[in-house]
């Protein structure tokens, strides 16, 4: 296959890491070789969902960006970490959680072109069917490049005032960058909202298909990023919606 899928949002706290982690697990469960890369260097978090910590993280994306290793050396095979048997393979390229290293990136920045090359190197070296990019929120040089490189883009938003405004900017930019497939995912929707109404409103506002309107879930909150929701609660409505989004992204 060989696709790059970016998961993006204008603001943070939309549930991007959880969505990326869940979709990647779903795709790996279909028997695909899936890589996940955490490009949110300032605020890395997806590694937590996969049970990786400072001790178990042998290399990070930062090491590659500082020329210390090849990008595939930073890949951690986490298929076993999921704790459920799945047919495919799952790899994570995490961002460093050492404060000194985060600070260093903040101070020095990094070569965005190098990151972009790295994405393609990963696809090849690990023979990936899918590479999912958990991006930094907002529009900046790094996220623009990720979006431009992607075959598919899922833009996450919450149904609130701040997200509505910022997402409109993001959709416009993504359109100009010519992403082949772009969908919106409305997440953390209050249970009292009419989801069909939200879907229609968002689709017409942005003239972009909505892959799913995901309700806020107490179980998700309680899980609190300590694991992969779709594996823990496979029959939950939210899991089904994640499956729906996954199918749309790879179709």
């Amino acid at each position: 296959m060989s696709k790059i899928i970016s998961v993006h949002s204008f603001r943070g706290g939309t549930g991007k890491s959880n969505t990326t982690a869940n979709i990647s697990a779903i795709l790996a469960a279909k028997g695909l070789r899936v890589g996940v890369i955490d490009t949110d260097i300032q605020s890395p978090g997806i590694h937590v969902l996969f049970g990786l910590d400072e001790e178990t993280m042998h290399h990070s994306l930062n090491d590659y960006l500082w020329g210390k290793c090849e990008i595939q050396d930073c890949a951690h095979e986490i298929t076993e970490n999921l704790g459920h048997p799945i047919g495919g393979k799952l790899f994570l390229i995490p961002s460093s959680i050492k404060p000194g290293e985060i600070a260093r990136v903040l101070r020095e920045g990094y070569d965005v072109g190098m990151l972009n090359d790295g994405l393609h190197d990963l696809l090849e070296a690990l023979e990936l069917d899918i590479l999912m990019i958990d991006t930094h929120p907002g529009l900046n040089e790094e996220t623009l490049l990720s979006i431009a490189t992607s075959d598919a883009l899922a833009i996450l938003m919450r149904p609130d005032q701040q997200d509505y405004q910022g997402t409109s900017v993001t959709v416009e930019v993504a359109r100009k960058l010519g992403v082949p497939r772009m969908v919106l995912v409305v997440n953390k929707t209050p249970q009292v909202f009419d989801r069909e109404e939200i879907r229609k409103k968002v689709e017409t506002t942005y003239n972009c298909p909505v892959a799913a309107v995901i309700p806020h879930s107490e179980e998700m909150m309680t899980l609190a990023s300590s694991g992969i929701f779709t594996l823990e609660y496979p029959d939950h409505e939210v899991s089904k919606l994640y499956h729906q989004v996954a199918d749309i992204l790879i179709s």
Partner: protein, 252 residues
């Protein structure tokens, strides 16, 4: 003396900005004169929450930081636009929402110094009781500038695994920058958990004072976030928690 409080969180979406606005509302209702500074340069949100149209704004925090205007030129008195009448006042120094401007704004040493000077240049003429400085989440230039220039830091987190580790880093950073007081606010506690227990366990983890635990409530989204929540919903249970946080956070 004007109390200057910076609002921080390691991760985004913790509710930092809504909470800053809610606290400003509580204080304004008590007759206090409060100023909010939107130092979240990459993703400003206070003007949106206050329903302000940025096209009418001439001078932003960004302009002040780059020495193009005085900070008093960038202040907006939002009090009369609020839903409820309050005896106090809520002022805002907004940040420019234009992505290209935001990307250009540099947080160098001069900017941080100007931010610090800015607090005092506002405090006197506006006769302020409290200044809240909203920052960009994470260990960022904004958060470091704020920690280095304010006396009190309020760190907000959600009880989620992704928050815990990073919050520890933020707490350490605040302490290494010699912050006078550190207060932690827990937001979005799931209904299954006991706030008291959550408070004790998080207090133990960070060895910092928990000034409030806000339960998850769909009402903040459903009822709309325009304006400070406590002013619109004075009898809501969340408002009582905001009042309690204000009591514990504000020493003056």
């Amino acid at each position: 003396m004007t109390e200057i409080i910076s609002m921080h969180s390691f991760r985004r979406g913790t509710g930092k900005t809504s909470i800053a606005l809610a606290l400003a509302g509580v204080l304004a209702q008590r007759g206090k004169r409060v100023c909010l500074i939107d130092a979240d340069i990459p993703s400003p949100g206070l003007h949106i929450m206050l329903g302000l149209d940025e096209t009418g704004i001439e001078c932003f925090l960004n302009d002040y930081l780059e020495d193009r205007c005085a900070i008093t030129d960038a202040v907006i008195d939002t009090t009369d636009h609020l839903e409820a009448t309050v005896p106090g006042r809520i002022f805002l120094v907004p940040s420019n929402p234009s992505p290209s401007i935001a990307m250009q704004t540099r947080w160098d040493r001069e900017a941080a110094d100007r931010l610090a000077d800015g607090y005092y240049e506002l405090a006197e003429p506006l006769d302020l009781d409290t200044i809240f400085v909203d920052t960009h989440a994470g260990i960022t230039e904004e958060s470091i500038a704020a920690l280095a220039t304010t006396n009190v830091a309020a760190i907000i987190l959600r009880p989620d695994q992704q928050d815990y580790q990073g919050t520890a880093l933020l707490v350490d950073l605040a302490r290494s920058l010699n912050i006078e007081r550190l207060a932690v606010i827990v937001n979005e506690l799931s209904s299954g958990y006991d706030p008291q227990q959550a408070s004790e366990s998080i207090q133990e983890t960070y060895k910092a004072q928990i000034v409030g635990v806000l339960p998850h409530s769909e009402d903040m989204t459903v009822l709309g976030v325009l304006g400070p929540f406590p002013l619109r919903y004075p009898n809501h249970p969340l408002t009582a928690v905001f009042a309690q946080i204000a009591d514990r956070l504000i020493q003056a």
